[in-house]
Assembly symmetry: C2
Homo-oligomer: 316 residues x 2
């Protein structure tokens, strides 16, 4: 099989590439390196099954050429920071929805009929049901969540029209090796500046869910190998759930840091944030998958990785 991974040099995309290469598949990566990094895939550069294209998914001519003879698309290229939509109304629309439309059109032109797409728990917004099942309606509170919900809807329409198979994954926050933004990153960066206290956006009470990236990627392949519907939608998360305060305590313990904490905010970390994210993963587990790492283990692996990559913090 020949796979195209958009955003394949990114945090999650590069782990998918590792898994595909390990299974002797042909892999083409297209990445504009806006947040992806060449070093995340450079260990494959001499593999004849691996090809890296530095380019933008919005370059329709390039993408249509790149899509030639592809059997399966992992569409990861996206704007990954939930917080920006409040102050920038176009970034999610352009980098999530328009990017996805570009992928769908290039697939259509090349008669590619299989797509896996990384959506988000943010499509559920402030869900009233926890853990939240896949049947819960879209109630996004951010443009990030709204654009991902829109992508899912467009993928459904193309899949329905042209008899494609689609795998849609609604992700909690992934952490682990190659993680480059989020609360662990922010905290390590803050502590490195040697403050006299650690300032947090919220009041510490929001409840969040995270998953170790390699467990997440194993979930993707479990679904792709086992799920047989035309449209296959799966939450990808963890049964464990912690408050922001508890997560910060875990991070501080791993870092052996004893700074006092200061809470700036209310029930939300930022405009559009959801203060209770807990996905029902029983559908995923029914396929025989379960996560191998606890949240604590995943946080520790993430911190170990970040502390060995000081260049990630330069200029941020």
């Amino acid at each position: 099989m020949k796979y195209l991974v958009t955003g394949g040099a990114g945090f999650i995309g590069s782990h998918i590439v590792d898994e595909l290469i390990r299974n002797n598949h042909q892999v083409v990566v297209i990445d504009n390196f806006s947040t992806g990094k060449e070093i995340f895939v450079s260990h494959h550069r001499h593999d004849p099954n691996f090809r890296l294209i530095k380019g933008d998914v919005l370059d329709k001519k390039l993408l249509t050429q790149t899509m030639k003879n592809i059997d399966f698309v992992f569409h990861l290229a996206a704007h990954a920071d939930v917080r920006n939509g409040y102050t920038n109304h176009s970034v999610d629309h352009r980098q999530n929805l328009e990017t996805t439309l570009s992928v769908l059109e290039a697939m259509f032109k090349n008669k590619v009929n299989k797509i896996a797409f990384t959506s988000t728990s943010s499509v559920y917004g402030d869900a009233s049901v926890h853990p939240t099942p896949e049947t819960y309606p879209f109630e996004p509170t951010s443009l990030y969540g709204a654009t991902k919900a829109a992508c899912e809807s467009y993928i459904r329409a193309y899949a329905g029209y042209y008899d494609w198979q689609a795998y849609i994954f609604r992700l909690v926050s992934f952490i682990g090796e190659r993680y480059t933004h989020g609360i662990i990153f922010d905290l390590i960066k803050k502590i490195a500046d040697k403050p006299d206290k650690l300032t947090l956006f919220s009041d510490g009470s929001p409840k969040k869910s995270s998953l170790y990236v390699k467990d997440g990627v194993s979930a993707f392949f479990q679904v792709i190998n086992k799920a047989k519907q035309q449209i296959n939608i799966y939450n990808v998360g963890h049964e464990e759930i912690f408050t922001i305060d508890e997560i910060v305590n875990i991070i501080l313990t791993v870092l052996k840091c004893r700074l006092p904490k200061s809470y700036l905010g209310g029930k939300r970390g930022w405009a559009g944030d959801n203060n209770f994210v807990h996905l029902d993963i029983s559908k995923l587990k029914s396929l025989g998958w379960k996560p191998k790492k606890s949240l604590k283990e995943a946080v520790k692996l993430t911190i170990d990785y970040l502390l060995n990559q000081p260049e990630l913090f330069r200029g941020k």
Copy 2:
């Protein structure tokens, strides 16, 4: 109150304008007359509360100027033909989603904080629950449905960010005076060509729901006056439901036409069509609303209207 009605010279929009003017509100209509018609609002042209702007909602400069001092937006401007998305992938995206984004940005720039939006039963796609409640997830099978679902998601995000109030109506097919496309229109046109039989796209079995336009507009105002949530989502339909074959029979009876019928198709009228549309309207009815016209009465009113407007058929 000063209202902006986008697509206010269209089938549904012009009935909203009538109701607003009747209640002594100031009304600004913006319409590009792609499907709207000046004659649908020309009876208001001497009313000092009425202003008509011939222009496109996608003209951001014009729309931002037009939005000045508006209190409430009825956003109706849209591509209204569900069938086109299969062969034209950009028409729904441009005329539904990009148009809605233009409206949301102009509202944001002018601090307008109330919007009513006409969505569609097509967001539910081939729902497995009938009648389908508002809590059913989005499962669109057409780009028309997908783009309307996307619009709803973006409206939610803006409303959440900026504390707007939003009224989202998911409509079945509306019929009645000023109706200009759909099955009744198509059948009258076909019969006028004096065929020896009447050819239908499907096998006649799809079950559809329709609502008399004035009943629909009264539902909009009932919700706006009574519903108090930040995001208010209401199905707008009828408890009556008929197969296409039954609807055709009603139309033929009203027209006193005895042509034999011929069925071209299968279970769907076109790619992306949904063969069972029946909305749960109990949420709407709980506000004290009910439709005044039966489907038969609404079909008769629609036919009476169309037979008196032969110019609508010219060039179609």
